[in-house]
Amino acid sequence: MTRRDSWEGIKLKRGTALKDATCHALGCPHDGLHDLSPDDLVSRLSDDVLVSILSYMPIKYAAATSILLRRWRHVWCQTARLDFEDKERLNKPRSQLHAKRIKYINWVNRIIRAIDKWTEFAISKAFQRLELDLEGGFYSNVNYVFPDKIFASKCELSLKRSSNFNIPVKPKATVMEVKFLKALILKCVDVNDECLKKILTNCPVLEHLSICHSRNLTKAKVHGKALALKDLEIISCDRLIISFSCTKFNMQVSMLPKLLKLKQLIIAANDGNLFELASMVEACPNFQRFKVKSCQLTLLQLIRNLIKYGLINKEVKQPHQHLETALMRETEPLNWLYFIENSVALKKLVIKPSWQELGPTTKLAGENNATRYRAQLEPKTTPVGVELVIIDYT
């Protein structure tokens, strides 16, 4: 049955698929070609044009078009891009946000029927990039848990559409590996150790992985088939002990080359536990950017750790050649001097002072602080070839 047959009693006369269009271009005769008034623009439009237009709109508006014309009833379901943006609902004061967020989730649920289906849906549609940003949930007690069952072997993914949805059910897609997902960004989504492992094992082309505010990631083991991983970002995972399965790295040397492609590592360590960080960095010799965002850890603590594990010590035989950037909050310029002096491989230093945390003793305006930083640090960085960037909020 063609798509055209399934439209219910529509007056549409023209072919819709591209092959039809080509056929017309070739001059094939076609009935009904001349009986359309010039104003009957929309009936001349093929579904592909409508789908493309709706793809550029938030799904809420796209779906509303189903009421415009009978023919458009299901057109929005074919859109290639899903934009669940709903500014009206989410631009609310924080006090109302929680309730609104629940409503929002319920709303999306009703589109794809169940929360886990969001992800299954994305996977079954062969998306290359999946971003689940539930940031509002940071203020609630429960995070959405990443549905790792989608990686279960021979997991059968099918979007069962209920009968009142009135769309022909597509054949079941069997997914063993997620062969097309290149970027996975999870904010306020719980990813536990086991789940992380599944993600890395089952997504062989995954290049960018970002996990933010996951509450149950404790030992992130980055190993296995993560062949293509280029960026790994782990931010504000409160309970994370950054172990990255160091023993494994050391014991299973064969695994080491597999992380050669990892070029950027971003860690936000809340508790200052940088234990075994060194082994991890050793396992990833091609880091170009090593970014530590630290909230509670002072710079001196960090430096002690880094020196302890041989990351920035002058005495180290093979200093980390690719350690380029350290982006940290630190209020005392003198601490930076110490850092610069001890970092042989440092090429670029980005300082993002946190003005609001300067405390009552520092009553200088932000501008003065930036100047002060520059004046104290530049004489030290310039001679050793370290590029100094101070991000000024003012």
Binding site: H24, S52, I67, R73
Partner: protein
């Protein structure tokens, strides 16, 4: 060697000349040229002459590849009329000129996304073909969208 020229014929039988190397940006035309050499006139019975003139203007652009994105955006921006854009999108789809089609569709989406349903109907010149009962059924099923 002189550049080869193709002749395209619009729905209302107007003829347009275009150099072949420019015309083959349209995948549809490229395939036709490949298949039969397309020595004669290529009829485009679904494209009216105004729209075809626009398409040809687009195909004849002299932009450097890196400026192409900006050019096509500006090109559709200057034709802000929804009916014109829809015709253009349909023609670009038929002729398989992806960039033009995408840009035209994006522009239409941009124009209509803040419209009420009634305004969309007006802009697209369509009449409601549903009974009130059918309309209610849809509003009930897709409550979240309204």
């Amino acid at each position: 060697m002189s550049k080869k020229t193709l002749t395209l014929m619009s729905k209302d039988k107007q003829l347009f000349n275009i150099e072949e190397h420019l015309a083959v940006q349209s995948v549809t035309i490229r395939n036709m040229v490949k298949e039969d050499g397309a020595s004669s006139v290529i009829p485009l019975p679904r494209v009216d002459s105004e729209t075809l003139a626009l398409v040809i203007e687009y195909l004849n652009r002299q932009q450097a590849p890196e400026e192409d994105e900006d050019y096509v955006k500006k090109f559709v921006d200057e034709r802000g009329e929804i009916p014109t854009l829809l015709e253009l999108a349909q023609a670009a789809l038929d002729l398989d000129i992806k960039k033009l089609m995408d840009a035209a569709c994006m522009k239409v989406a941009d124009l209509i996304k803040d419209f009420t349903l009634e305004e969309v109907r007006e802009a697209l010149r369509i009449e409601n073909d549903r009974t009130p009962e059918e309309e209610k059924a849809i509003r009930d099923e897709f409550q979240w969208a309204f």
